[in-house]
């Protein structure tokens, strides 16, 4: 009965995570690790499938930063997502280490990520992301996989508006158990337009199986203390909103995302910002 329990557990988790994205259930009957981030910043940008942009421009900050977030998924009892992230920034490089778990009691996906990205306002900035993905089923040995991705961010200007275009090769290299870990490569991209006090972002994620989920989000910043984010996505239709409040080196954020099927995700995050010069 063990294999059957294992398969049904994976199928349950896949169904739950498919609900999170309200997209098609992955073709392969395995954990797809499609939910990458359920923090308020991600919910506001209706982008739980990628690492979101920060609420504030923090390029000038140096030192150690910490973030912890908790999300409640779709009102299902016990279905939550938690993440702890530590980062260290210098003038040239930013290193991040995070651990996230998502699932219900007895079925959990764990993702530990190590990210290195170039800091500062470089015209072309590179980043590398290594992930350890582990599927934990109660009563079963854990199975895991390694994934490696990379990204590039280009900055330019168009008639006074700062433009950032980012493109990533997400999880293009993978090693692990193919039977239960059904991680697929994808190409997420963003186009971000910066103006004074506001940013408009167009983003999409092209999956290996042809799925896309275009989205647009708007950031509004009232000075350096309050930031609001509104998002709207398609395939599936979803709406998000988030707010972040800063006081000194502390930031508190809340966010919520609702989809066309009536499901909602809400989360809260607390951040200890890096020190150093403020933007």
């Amino acid at each position: 009965m063990r294999p059957r329990a294992c398969v049904s557990g994976i199928a349950a988790l896949a169904a739950v995570l498919a609900l999170c994205e309200a997209a098609a259930i992955p073709r392969h009957a395995g954990a797809a690790f499609e939910l990458r981030d359920a923090s308020p910043a991600a919910l506001g940008a209706v982008s739980m499938d990628r690492e979101p942009h920060a609420f504030f421009e923090d390029a000038a900050r140096r030192g150690l930063g910490l973030t912890a977030s908790h999300a409640s998924l779709y009102g299902v009892d016990g279905l939550t997502a938690e993440e702890v992230c530590g980062s260290f920034a210098t003038s040239r490089i930013r290193v991040g280490l995070s651990h996230a778990q998502v699932g219900a009691p007895g079925v959990r996906e764990h993702a530990t990520c190590f990210t290195v990205r170039e800091a500062g306002a470089l015209p072309v900035a590179l980043s590398v992301r290594a992930e350890r993905l582990v599927l934990a089923l109660e009563g079963e040995p854990r199975v895991g996989a390694w994934a490696l991705g990379a990204g590039v961010l280009g900055r330019g200007a168009l008639r006074g508006v700062q433009v950032e275009i980012g493109l990533a090769a997400d999880r293009v290299l993978r090693r692990g158990e193919p039977g239960r870990i059904a991680v697929q490569p994808s190409v997420p991209w963003t186009i971000r337009l910066h103006a004074r006090g506001a940013s408009l972002e167009f983003a999409d994620r092209w999956e290996g199986d042809g799925r896309t989920s275009p989205r647009v989000s708007l950031d509004l910043r009232a000075g350096g203390a309050l930031a609001l984010r509104f998002g709207r996505g398609e395939r599936p239709g979803r709406t998000g909103a988030a707010a972040a409040l800063r006081a000194g080196r502390f930031e508190v954020a809340v966010g919520r995302q609702d989809d066309q099927h009536g499901g909602s995700v809400s989360s809260v995050a607390v951040t200890l910002l890096p020190g150093g010069p403020k933007p």
């Binding site: 073709r27 392969h28 470089l122 015209p123 072309v124 590179l126 590039v152 280009g154 900055r155 330019g156 200007a157 168009l158 433009v163 275009i165 493109l167 990533a168 090769a169 293009v172 697929q184 490569p185 994808s186 190409v187 991209w189 092209w206 999956e207 290996g208 199986d209 042809g210 896309t212």
Partner: protein, 510 residues
């Protein structure tokens, strides 16, 4: 090659540069040495970039000799080796070596297939003072007149109309493994120290079509390039394949403002002609091409190109129509352009087109296929040693059941390090609806990029790079692709090369 001889060769190079009159000419020569020798990407299309000034890649099926895309330029190589692998297996490898002694240059190339069987051997010798080159073994003859090559059946029929060519063909070993080709000998004489001077060439041997059942056929060719005055050149040629004679006469002339060329071919199949003419009156440039092939159900093809170019923008309109297969026709209308900016984003290169293909088959009767397509490349940012650009393509095919679209989106990152190393990385996601096809960028060992047709969704990543240490250079190409069903395909090629500076004598083996 010993150190004193190498030093002497270098001194000859410097003395040659010193003897070139004018700072601009020296600068141009240095720029050629710096930029033209390494493999070039995108703009180095093989033979068939009709506009000639717009750098977007072409579909593979529109390129005259797609097999040449994989050829690594080996100008000045004293030693080169190359290994190709696909799906973890080692399908083929090749190696070549060359030696220089005074005005003599000699080289040999060996090619092996997967089971280590020797598939081809080529020997070359060149005497630079007299200008004679001899090649024996597996010989690749490139750059014959377009119609002459077609009638001799040693070149594929180009989908796009080429220009008439009145130059001597290049003859050497095949740089990529292929089953079809000539086994025999080739001999050429070029007037030394002349770029457009007179030359005489000949080749002969047995031509293998690459099909196991077909018997090799006897093939021979003879031709010359004769300058006529200062601005015109004529190139007569004759060829024989299995006893069938083919004759050709190409002429080309040019002035500051205009140029024109014509190629006329007579063979057992019938008469064929190709003519093209262009006028350049900045900012405008016009060109027309016309082709006639007797024996075809639709013998006429033509193309009109109008181009306007300013410092920051360039746009071209191309309208063409011609035969497609035995009974079909293809029409194409294209708008191609490049918009640059003084700063910030850009340049933006684009191609918008519409094509229609008609045909008639006994099974389906009259068939018609219409397609609209777009290709875009945008430079996002550029910094010291780095450049990032994004690309996108879309093909939309009109069918009886509605439109079917295939799209792709991705990016390209170019990294360079002190002109000693360069790396190009591409990532693309492809979406193809059922019944549709999409384009994705294919990189080739020769440095070019072309559009490949995909019929399945997926993600593709590729990297191509080269590094130089002294006179040695090491290059590699890796491609990986995974489709919607999780099927993976990988391919890799690496090459190593040692160069010798004998370009001063005007020798170029490729």
């Amino acid at each position: 090659m010993s150190r004193p001889r190498a030093a002497s060769a270098m001194m000859r190079l410097f003395r040659s540069i010193g003897s070139v009159p004018g700072f601009a000419l020296k600068g141009g020569l240095c720029a050629f040495l710096v930029f033209a020798l390494p493999p070039r990407h995108a703009s180095a299309q093989v033979e068939s970039d009709p506009g000639g000034t717009l750098p977007l890649p072409l579909p593979v099926e529109d390129i005259d000799s797609p097999e040449r895309l994989d050829e690594v330029p080996r100008s000045g190589a004293a030693f080169s080796g190359r290994v190709s692998a696909r799906e973890g297996a080692l399908p083929r490898w090749s190696a070549s070596a060359a030696a220089v002694y005074g005005d003599w240059w000699a080289g040999a190339t060996f090619g092996y297939d997967a089971d280590a069987a020797l598939r081809r051997v080529t020997g070359e010798i060149h005497q630079s003072r007299v200008g004679v080159t001899a090649v024996v073994g597996s010989v690749d003859v490139r750059g014959l007149g377009a119609l002459f090559g077609e009638r001799l059946e040693v070149a594929s029929r180009a989908a796009r109309l080429p220009s008439a060519r009145a130059t001597a063909p290049e003859m050497g070993p095949p740089a990529s493994a292929r089953t079809r080709g000539l086994v025999g000998a080739a001999l050429s004489w070029h007037r030394p120290a002349s770029v457009t001077g007179a030359s005489v060439w000949a080749f002969g041997g047995r031509w293998n079509d690459g099909t196991p059942s077909a018997e090799p056929e006897r093939l021979a060719g003879l031709g010359a390039v004769v300058p006529i005055g200062a601005s015109a050149i004529a190139a007569p040629a004759v060829g024989v394949r299995s006893g069938a004679l083919t004759g050709s006469l190409s002429m080309r002339t040019r002035s500051d403002a205009w140029d024109a060329g014509v190629e006329a071919v007579g063979s057992r199949v019938g008469f064929a002609a190709l003519a093209d003419a262009g006028v350049s009156a900045p900012p405008f440039r016009w060109r027309g091409r016309w082709r006639f092939r007797s024996g075809d159900a639709r013998p006429i093809a033509g193309e009109i190109l109008a181009e306007a170019g300013w410092r920051l923008a360039r746009v071209a309109i191309r309208v063409s129509g011609g035969a497609s297969g035995a009974t079909g026709a293809v029409e194409r209308r294209e708008l191609e352009g490049r918009i640059g900016t003084r700063r910030g984003l850009g340049p933006l290169s684009f191609r918008l087109g519409r094509s229609g293909t008609t045909g008639f088959t006994a099974a389906d009767g009259f068939t018609e296929r219409r397609e609209r397509y777009a290709v875009m490349d945008l430079g996002v940012a550029r910094a010291a040693g780095r450049a990032f650009s994004v690309t996108a393509t879309r093909r939309e095919r009109e069918t009886e059941r509605g439109a079917r679209a295939g799209t792709s989106a991705g990016g390209r990152l170019d990294l360079t390090w002190r002109r000693r190393a360069r790396l190009e990385i591409r990532v693309e996601a492809v979406r193809a609806e059922p019944g549709a096809s999409a384009w994705s960028s294919g990189v080739y060992a020769g440095g070019s990029t072309a559009l490949r047709t995909r019929t399945r969704s997926g993600v593709a990543a590729s990297a191509r790079g080269e590094a130089r240490v002294g006179s040695w250079s090491l290059g590699g190409l890796v491609e990986g692709r995974e489709d919607e069903l999780g099927r993976q395909a990988t391919a890799a090629t690496i090459w190593i090369e040692r160069r010798i500076p004998f370009l001063t004598r005007g020798i170029e083996t490729r």
